[in-house]
Subunit: 276 residues, 2 copies
């Protein structure tokens, strides 16, 4: 048996309010079952969530979208005045707003949105900051050295990780031209993952997917979409246009990828949450 | 300081594979920080997720929908053959498949999908089984006594709970007529929450929302939508057409509500995950 003060300390650690919210003594009993405590039900250990951070931009028709695609259109179909309740319908592209690229987007025969195992939508976060470089160089990319530097500080990239790039690009999301950052020749300039970093994550580590706060997993000037073609056909997902990455820790958070389960979908606008 | 065997016991509790996956000793150190351990970063306590269960039906145009609404239409817009990659667009009603009713759906001025705080999308699960009654009585409803019976077994309904009804109705989801279960007069018959249970949850407990495995929070024969009108205007959400509720524990799981963050939306098709 654990000493009672250990049980009390767990409660203190969680904070009294959260401790009660998440089941109080029952949760602590679960946490400490390895100390010899017994549990009344087969319910499993309650999660102890102290922080929830949304990583999702609000989506409307003005949100930046990849050139050549039609933005979401939201049409009202039921109103309080006429019907007593309220509802809309959307003409929604699969790749607008904060959204997921399902593996089938660039991998013929790879997983569509409904085929991604739910377990692959719950992932430990590895957050790579490149915002310092991005301020002066919009073509900067996440390198293998960035990944190795993270590992020197936080340990090996965990199995099933979501490796996320924070470039600070979301500050431009209110202006489609600034977000795309297109030059006179029509080439866009924004940060993304390098081909080599994607290869490292695919071959040397075991990840669930990657994410960026820009329009594309590949940097804007990429002509070959090497990151898309490297990772997606291997059944890794990608998330584009993430928000609020500056507000989560570099390690220790868990990502929930709320991708609608639409049959055959190549992706979709999604609610992304980080908890820790 | 805690004894080393407590640290080891936490690892054992998690299972070696999960222990390593979720950060190993670092996670244990976080869990046991209350014992006097120190932590290297501000990363917070890693979650220890042993089970992930999807609660989402795959959505296609054949999935049952409320009478009078047009089902999702999925249109291909990019193909491997022509474009080198694959993408679709959806004409998607906000209330089809496993989906969320945002508070604004029945509450003028209440939260739209984008206004729901992210914290309200992460909730301890309270699972109410009514499938035994539903087999013989499709009009059965979740009662206040069902909620009190759950509390006698598991303790008070936790703050911020997601109270979910399992009626077994998903077995009918492949047949729209069986799922709606409409009689000769056009009245549908399937289980839902009772008005009294909704009032109890609103006034006597503090919940985030409720969910059902049928077409509506209200039972099918309801003529007044009392549960919708009772809960949604008070900024509680609802989830309809949940799947796999028989596979999660009655208490102890955490629900993640992956509702797309579409501006002004009255709801939307959503990915729902339970973890414990």
């Amino acid at each position: 048996m654990c000493a009672p003060d250990v049980l009390a300390a767990v409660g203190e650690r969680l904070g009294r309010r959260e401790f009660l919210k998440w089941g109080g003594a029952a949760a602590a009993a679960g946490i400490l079952a390895g100390c010899g405590g017994s549990r009344a039900s087969g319910a499993g250990v309650s999660l102890r969530v102290r922080n929830v951070q949304g990583l999702t931009h609000t989506l409307n028709s003005a949100f930046p979208i990849w050139p050549g695609f039609a933005p979401i259109q939201i049409t009202n179909v039921r109103s309080f005045e006429k019907d007593g309740f309220f509802a809309n319908t959307w003409q929604a592209p699969e790749h607008h707003g904060t959204h997921v690229d399902a593996p089938i987007h660039f991998g013929k025969g790879a997983w569509s949105a409904d085929q991604i195992p739910d377990q692959a939508l719950v992932s430990p976060v590895v957050l790579i900051h490149v915002h310092d470089r991005a301020e002066s160089n919009p073509d900067t990319q996440v390198t293998v050295e960035d990944l190795r530097a993270w590992e020197r500080q936080h340990g090996k990239i965990p199995e099933g990780a979501a490796v996320l790039m924070h470039s600070g690009w979301e500050a431009r999301a209110g202006d489609i031209n600034s977000f795309r950052n297109m030059d006179g020749k029509g080439t866009m300039h924004f940060p993304g993952f390098s081909k080599e970093a994607a290869e490292f994550l695919l071959k040397e580590r075991t990840i669930n997917g990657i994410g960026v706060d820009t329009l594309s997993l590949d940097h804007g000037a990429s002509q070959d979409f090497a990151v898309h073609f490297g990772l997606l056909p291997a059944n890794k997902w990608g998330i584009e246009n993430l928000a609020n990455l500056a507000k989560i820790p570099p390690a220790g958070a868990t990502l929930f990828v709320g991708l609608p389960k639409v049959q055959g979908a190549s992706g979709g606008t999604a609610r992304i949450l980080a908890v820790w």
